[in-house]
């Protein structure tokens, strides 16, 4: 199978070009070819009208083309200056010239508007600042083309905003930027031009006013999606989870109280790092809460570890699918079956593999997991299908309460919609759902009710009728002065 087939694009100086497409559309492959990470089977690259070819990243860098990876490529243990000049350290008599590193680093840090000392250890910086260091590093090799792959995926909206300002200022300095993102709002805001890829092929180009949300989505999916969030009314029942004055170890000064009812979809909005993930972790027993109590179905319970949480009918789909959600080297069946092994074992501790197989088959069927077989190793599945495997693991346990942490992160648009439909369906089967999302439209689109968090505190509760981007952002930043609308 070809990841990419006969795609052409041109890039002018001082232009922001966005490349969008579903997962697997070939965006990453295209960028890898441009940055010299991976060679193309056929085709040509021209820089300044001259035909060139990139054997490796070094060659691309020499032409001023630099790729900034989705996962940052910085050494946590080194300082900012050392990272910027990593592999190109200025030397004096064979010894690394630290003074020159500091001086020249400061210049680049100034250009990206980052006010930290070059001596700061990179691991101590926030992800947003690390991203700036990465960009400073790119500028230090005289980059004329910056390729950014999902740069905002782990940034807070404040950090994103300053990144956008930086991108705009770089553009004004004549640097061209190729911007890859799933977040259409960002694409719309930044791009001069948008190229849409579909199934590894060039699909369409949108310029200026053509760059609208609806246009981009229909081009990416190849069909018109009028009703992306297809809501069906579902009855809301008794309270399933009640959290009373819970304090997590990460935010010891604040406590949180909330409740979720059967058949209710409750969103948990807020900026990245506002304590939402930590709250879910404490409910699920991964971190022991410092104080407070949980009520499951009107009974106060103590949950000291995930095992007890599962016993009480709670399931958590974690944010980090590859580290926490799945055992990526194991098969689909092993992953779906793992939670139920103990439950279905006989009294001598022997596992019930027939049960595991039938559970897996029914989940593959019910969730539409696209896999050649139940024995396929999970890492060879796409992000969306991996997420369905995680969901399948928990649905086979028939939980009463489903906790979802960024359930659609890194999932393509088609799978996203399937996940929304699944959430709707589970709610209509009277499962209680509490989900964390950083995407405002997602929270607005599927929640019956939403809580908003800011720095470890619940700053508000919004009913479906009150849900809009402005009301959420106001609570998420906990200020009345929030002026900038993010779309």
């Amino acid at each position: 199978m070809r990841a990419l087939h006969q795609v052409s694009l041109t890039l002018k100086p001082g232009e922001v070009l966005s490349v969008i497409g579903e997962n697997g559309a070939g965006k990453s492959t295209l960028m890898k070819i441009l940055a010299g990470v991976q060679p193309a089977d056929s085709g040509e690259i021209f820089v300044d009208g001259k035909k060139t070819s990139f054997e490796n990243t070094r060659a691309a860098m020499d032409h001023g083309i630099v790729l900034i990876h989705q996962e940052l490529n910085l050494c946590d243990n080194l300082n900012v200056g050392q990272n910027i000049f990593l592999g190109r350290e200025p030397r004096k008599l064979g010894i690394v010239n630290t003074r020159e590193i500091s001086q020249r680093s400061e210049e680049f840090l100034k250009r990206v508007g980052l006010s930290v000392s070059p001596q700061t250890i990179v691991g101590r910086l926030t992800i947003g600042k690390q991203q700036m260091v990465e960009i400073a590093k790119a500028l230090s090799v005289d980059a004329r083309v910056l390729i950014m792959d999902e740069p905002t995926s782990s940034l807070s909206s404040k950090e994103s905003a300053s990144l956008f300002e930086l991108i705009e200022s770089l553009r004004d300095q004549g640097v061209s930027i190729i911007y890859i993102s799933h977040r259409l709002a960002e694409v719309k805001r930044l791009s001069d031009r948008v190229i849409v890829l579909r199934d590894g092929e060039y699909c369409n180009e949108l310029i200026g006013d053509e760059i609208t949300h609806a246009n981009m989505v229909s081009n990416m999916v190849g069909r018109d999606i009028s009703q992306f969030y297809n809501r069906t009314p579902h009855p809301i029942g008794e309270t399933v989870l009640k959290v009373n004055q819970l304090t997590t170890p990460h935010w010891p000064q604040h406590s949180v109280s909330l409740e979720v009812k059967a058949g209710e979809i409750v969103g948990l909005a807020g900026l990245v790092g506002s304590g939402r993930t930590e709250l879910l972790r404490s409910i699920f027993g991964i971190d022991r809460p410092l104080s407070g109590s949980l009520e499951i179905g009107k009974k106060t319970v103590q949950i000291r570890n995930p095992k007890e949480a599962v016993h009480h009918g709670i399931a958590l789909v974690p944010e980090d699918r590859k580290q926490h959600g799945l055992i990526i080297d194991l098969s689909v069946q092993d992953n779906i079956g793992i939670a139920g092994l103990q439950k279905h074992a006989n009294r001598f501790g022997f596992a019930n593999f027939q049960r595991q197989k039938s559970d897996t088959d029914s989940m593959i069927d019910r969730l539409g997991i696209k896999t050649p077989s139940a024995r396929q190793i999970s890492k060879f599945l796409s992000g969306g299908n991996q997420q369905k495997v995680v969901l399948g693991k928990w649905l086979s346990m028939a939980p009463k309460l489903l906790l979802l942490d960024e359930p659609t992160r890194g999932v393509d648009i088609g799978a996203k919609q399937e996940i929304y439909q699944l959430i709707e369906k589970l709610a209509s089967e009277s499962m209680a759902i509490l989900f964390v999302s950083s995407e405002l439209e997602e929270v607005i689109g599927i929640s019956d009710r939403a809580y908003v968090m800011h720095e470890g505190q619940l700053t508000g509760e919004l009913d479906r009728s009150e849900l809009n981007e402005e009301s959420i952002m106001r609570l998420a930043t906990n200020t009345a002065e929030h002026k900038e609308a993010k779309t």
């Binding site: 995930p306 098969s331 092993d334 793992i338 501790g349």
Partner: protein, 516 residues
């Protein structure tokens, strides 16, 4: 779980290597390799080391490591020897606390069972010993807080003695009349206690050197048959019956050893899971601590099971006779480079091939380990935890408990290995017994396909890995390779084995990506 295909491929690869080595040995040195004796030996060594290999495989699958195995083998062996230590205690012996020459008295512990007129055997050291007769039994009194009975005796002691510190002034015990003595058979007076096989009798008389004799069996009417004859003995001697007293019975001793190693395994597991210490560090400290403990407990003296030739010794050297007899012989004895054939006939002096008992223990361990790892919930959880502990925890698995379980299993199997090695060698030098065993075990596990990254490994692979290691060792002896190269060759084979394994993994990944 997981890559079943690559797992099978690994086992197939290493099995091929093993078969190849066997072929080389059969080709190069058939006359010594194919003897029943050599094959039995190979089987026995594989069984002993294999138990350790399976133990460490559990820990490696949990993505940990156990470096304490060698020392723990030594500790288990030393503990077993100490628990089974045998003392020879004269029947009815009590301690002496004071000796008065002028009053002709001896003060003994109050719980004695002596009567007036009894002849007693007093023993302190080579010079202070002898037979005394009880003339009078005095009152019980307190002496330095101990309650003692004052015996008036004859002949009077040579000089006064007082016990200093807490040590008694020797011991005193009853003696019995030898009614008659004839060759190996001695008859004691009727009141003498019954004695059994392996108990002893000390014959004493006047100034003659006391003679200690071992009892073969007990006849009727206190007739006692000794193991050897002594022309110097006669019915004038008096007999001090001495009873063989083991510290613990065999089952209790085994149970105690397993109990102790189990606790050590739990401690390893708790330190690693609760205190988040690194397995390498915890078990490295274990390596040092257990070695030192073994040396201290035994006073650095070689210990063994000389007293247990007929029980434990039989298990160690015992074998199940298969009834198959064979031996390799040269077809033409005059030709040095001649071909050979196997003779399947007892008439030619062929030996019987027997399967050592230790192999059956190993077989039981293999079967239980395979069942545990693949069919039980805990085995599957162990594999999951080894692959990705966090994801396993997020799936509601008690990862701490599972990891601890791996260390407990390893420690218990190490204890079992230690016991098997101990009775097999019967001579345990605490400073060197079990040295490097952890490395042999880890090497066998790695050779057998366990990845130190965790989550990967099969019991069968470990078994074949152990067999390969032991065959290598065997071949160094048989092929007359210099001893000094032993470690070099074993190291090189492991290196090539694992490198080959990584190569096939890379090729498989490449193949898969091409296919995709």
């Amino acid at each position: 779980m997981g890559d079943r295909g690559t797992g099978l491929l690994k086992i197939a690869g290493i099995t091929t290597l093993l078969l190849l080595l066997w072929c080389i040995l059969v080709w190069e040195s058939p006359l010594s390799f194919l003897t029943p004796n050599n094959l039995e030996n190979l089987l026995r060594r594989t069984s002993l080391y294999g138990v350790l290999g399976i133990g460490v495989a559990f820990v490696i699958i949990s993505s940990g490591i156990d470096l304490s195995i060698g020392s723990l083998v030594c500790l288990a062996a030393c503990l077993l020897a100490l628990f089974l230590q045998v003392d020879y205690v004269p029947v009815g012996q009590v301690e002496v606390w004071q000796v008065r020459a002028d009053a002709s008295t001896i003060s003994v512990a109050a719980d004695h069972g002596f009567n007036q007129g009894d002849e007693l055997w007093y023993y302190k050291d080579r010079r202070n010993k002898g037979l005394v007769k009880v003339v009078n039994i005095g009152d019980t009194e307190l002496l330095d807080g101990k309650s003692v009975t004052v015996l008036t005796v004859e002949p009077p002691p040579k000089r006064d003695q007082d016990s200093r510190e807490e040590k008694p002034l020797g011991k005193i015990s009853s003696t019995f009349d030898v009614v008659n003595y004839d060759g190996k058979v001695a008859k004691l007076e009727n009141s003498a206690p019954g004695l059994k096989h392996n108990d002893k009798i000390l014959f004493v008389h006047g100034n003659e050197t006391p003679r200690e004799k071992t009892i073969d069996q007990n006849g009727e009417d206190n007739q006692i048959i000794l193991t050897d004859e002594d022309s110097g003995l006669n019915a004038d001697f008096r007999a001090v019956p001495i009873r063989k007293t083991p510290y613990m019975s065999i089952p209790l001793a085994l149970l105690s050893v397993f109990g102790i190693v189990l606790c050590l395994g739990v401690i390893h597991g708790l330190l690693i899971t609760r205190l988040k210490m690194q397995p390498f560090v915890v078990t490295l400290c274990g390596l040092l601590i257990y070695r030192g403990l073994s040396r201290w407990l035994t006073n650095d003296q070689t210990v063994g099971f000389i007293e247990y030739q007929e029980t434990l010794g039989k298990v160690a050297t015992g074998r199940w006779e298969t009834g198959i007899q064979f031996m390799p012989v040269k077809v033409d004895p005059t030709n040095d480079a001649s071909s050979w054939k196997l003779v399947w006939d007892s008439a030619e002096g062929a030996q019987m091939f027997g399967i050592p008992y230790s192999f059956f223990i190993f077989l039981a361990v293999i079967v239980s380990a395979i069942i545990f790892l693949n069919l039980t919930v805990w085995g599957r959880h162990l594999q999951a935890v080894g692959r990705n502990e966090e994801a396993a925890r997020y799936s509601g698995i008690s990862t701490h408990r599972i990891t601890t379980l791996a260390y407990v299993l390893c420690a218990v199997l190490t204890g079992l290995g230690g016991v098997m090695f101990a009775i097999d060698s019967n001579s345990i030098a605490p400073s060197s017994f079990g040295n490097f065993f952890e490395l042999y075990a880890i090497a066998a596990a790695v050779l057998g396909g366990c990845s130190l990254r965790g989550g990967e490994g099969s019991i069968l692979g470990v078994v074949v890995g152990t067999a390969l290691m032991q065959t290598l060792y065997n071949s160094i002896v048989l092929l007359k390779i210099p001893d000094e190269l032993e470690f070099t060759i074993i190291g090189a084979v492991i290196l090539f084995g694992v490198a080959g394994d990584e190569l096939t993994r890379m090729l498989a990944a490449k193949f898969r990506s091409k296919e995709a």
